[in-house]
């Protein structure tokens, strides 16, 4: 009996493995969740928008994939099942557009700006942005491929051109970089944990929960960048209707209010 059982088991297991490769048909199309691929910096705001969306559109679940925009673009290129792509810069949206991964013209839906954060304990005693060029500061940026990483380097270069900053501010500050993180949230956590002395992040990353651990320095508007976030529907979207509804919500006054609550700058605030 035992042996028979064992043999049956092996057979059933093999069959199951073989059959497992055949896609299951008949899954209800209506139950397909909306897959939103969004820049990591949008995580808090979009999570709230997602809850709002689910209230408005009963029966549709929203699933988010938050990561560096460069990662999301690559994932969509490799055939990930995304419906909506929201990038933290136009570079990666252009990348997606050039490869025919999105439909229609991407819409700019929100702006963001950079700030510098230091741990509440401020181990390096940073009192102003000029201090970032002091020797031995442990500065953490996002990698150059990440939108916020590129913006950070632009801001540092801009700062060395404005009054009150030494001309060699940029090279000296960049020499203090001890790590190039793969997304903005990793920069935040390195500072939040007190391992880094300072980091460049988006204003929108500083949620009330994080504000308990960090001190924030504003970057002068004359040196700051305005990060423009484009959003678009993905070409092979499996839930195109829901994707359109989500875009509408993001661009609606109510959606823009949610974004503003999370430290992002709605379009109207900036004017054309």
């Amino acid at each position: 009996m035992n042996r028979v059982h064992r043999r049956t088991l092996v057979l059933v297991a093999s069959l199951a493995l073989l059959l497992g490769t055949v896609p299951a048909h008949g899954a209800a199309d209506a139950a397909k969740p909306l897959e939103v691929y969004a820049a990591a910096s949008l995580a808090d705001a979009f999570n709230e928008l997602g809850r709002l969306f689910e209230q408005r559109q009963p029966g549709i679940r929203v699933r988010f994939n938050f990561a560096g925009s460069q990662q999301l673009a690559t994932q969509i290129e490799q055939g990930a099942a995304a419906d909506v792509f929201a990038s933290a810069d136009e570079r990666w949206m252009d990348y997606a557009k050039e490869r025919g991964l999105v439909v229609g013209e991407p819409t700019l839906f929100v702006h963001n700006r950079l700030v510098v954060i230091v741990p509440k304990t401020n181990p390096a005693r940073i009192g102003r942005l000029q201090d970032l060029a002091k020797g031995g500061i442990k500065l953490v940026l996002a990698a150059d491929a990440v939108p916020v990483g590129r913006y950070s380097r632009t801001v540092i270069r801009n700062l060395s051109r404005i009054e009150g900053f030494p001309a060699d501010y940029a090279p000296r500050t960049l020499k203090n970089v001890v790590s190039e993180e793969e997304n903005v949230k990793s920069v935040v956590s390195k500072v939040q944990l007190g391992e880094a002395d300072a980091g460049f992040v988006y204003r929108s990353d500083i949620s009330p929960a994080i504000q308990r651990y960090v001190r924030l320095f504003e970057v002068p508007a004359s040196a700051n960048v305005v990060a423009a976030y484009p959003i678009a529907r993905v070409k092979d979207a499996r839930a195109p209707e829901a994707a359109k509804a989500f875009l509408d919500l993001v661009l609606s006054p109510e959606g823009q209010q949610v974004l503003e609550r999370h430290g992002l700058m709605p379009l109207a605030a900036n004017g054309p």
Partner: protein, 279 residues
């Protein structure tokens, strides 16, 4: 019915099952590697490897994984000996502790390392007093690799020590050899194949370490960006470079494991020596 089944066994069915499972599993394991190898030509791989970022990553990977393996060997073998030859209260806990890095997600390990050896961590303050800082340094990379590689050394080494013929060790003892002498001149040479397996496994694990490294030591070319980190970063902006690096890592890991497996067990210095000792 049971009897009938036993009397007329159908080995073909069982054989089919084994064959089907093996084909599926081996195909599953090999296909990703084949895909990687087909994506670029060897010439392209070599061209990419000449880049400074890649050379930095290669050099760093080599230095850190050799250092980490050395630490794991020196500290791991005594622990393996202890676990193989002694019973003591709390041994279970020690065993679990040694195995833990193997099952822990590396990112969690990296985070735990920050809590312990980070600037604000438990032991970090003591290290800072000594002027040692681990996060964002090459030394931190080695620490992360050591942490993750320990079980891959201790496991095989312990099994190797445990399978030694106790009579040989007893014989040494009757000849009034001290334990230290027996360990170095009898146990170590006899256990050498298992120990070398441990060296190769822990070396390969150090070479491939990613999650704990990026979490604990960060990512900076030339300082903490080892090969796996360089692959990850390249994957986000320069797919071809990522493929080239991946192929190189694959070839290195494959060579390391294959080299160890095909080395004849008796060819190591330890064997002859051990026989001479045990006689």
């Amino acid at each position: 019915m049971t009897e009938a089944a036993i009397r007329s066994p159908r080995p073909s069915l069982a054989r089919f099952g084994v064959l089907a499972a093996s084909t599926l599993l081996l195909g599953f394991l090999a296909l990703p590697f084949i895909g990687l190898l087909l994506r670029v030509s060897p010439g392209e791989v070599l061209a990419r490897l000449a880049r400074p970022v890649v050379i930095d990553a290669l050099r760093l990977s080599f230095i850190t994984s050799v250092a980490a393996t050395a630490v794991v060997v020196v500290l791991g073998i005594p622990v393996a000996w202890l676990l193989a030859t002694r019973e003591f209260p709390g041994k279970r806990v020690v065993e679990v502790l040694v195995d833990l890095p193997m099952v822990l997600p590396p990112t969690v390990a990296g985070f735990a390392l920050l809590m312990a050896f980070g600037r604000a961590g438990l032991g970090g303050r003591a290290l800072a007093a000594l002027g040692i800082s681990l996060p964002f340094t090459t030394l931190g990379v080695v620490v992360a690799q050591v942490f993750m590689a320990v079980p891959f050394m201790v496991g095989p080494a312990r099994a190797s020590f445990a399978s030694l013929d106790p009579k040989l060790l007893d014989a040494a003892a009757t000849l009034r050899a001290r334990e230290t002498f027996t360990f170095f001149h009898v146990a170590l040479p006899l256990a050498m194949p298992g120990l070398l397996a441990g060296v190769a496994m822990s070396g390969a694990r150090s070479l491939g370490e990613f999650g704990a490294t990026i979490t604990f030591a960060g990512n900076l070319p030339g300082t903490t960006q080892t090969m796996p980190l360089a692959v990850y970063v390249a994957l986000q902006s320069d797919l071809d470079a990522a493929v080239a690096l991946s192929v190189l890592l694959l070839v290195m890991a494959f060579g390391l494991l294959l080299g160890l497996r095909s080395a004849p067990a008796g060819s190591f210095w330890g064997r002859r020596d051990a026989r001479a000792q045990s006689r």
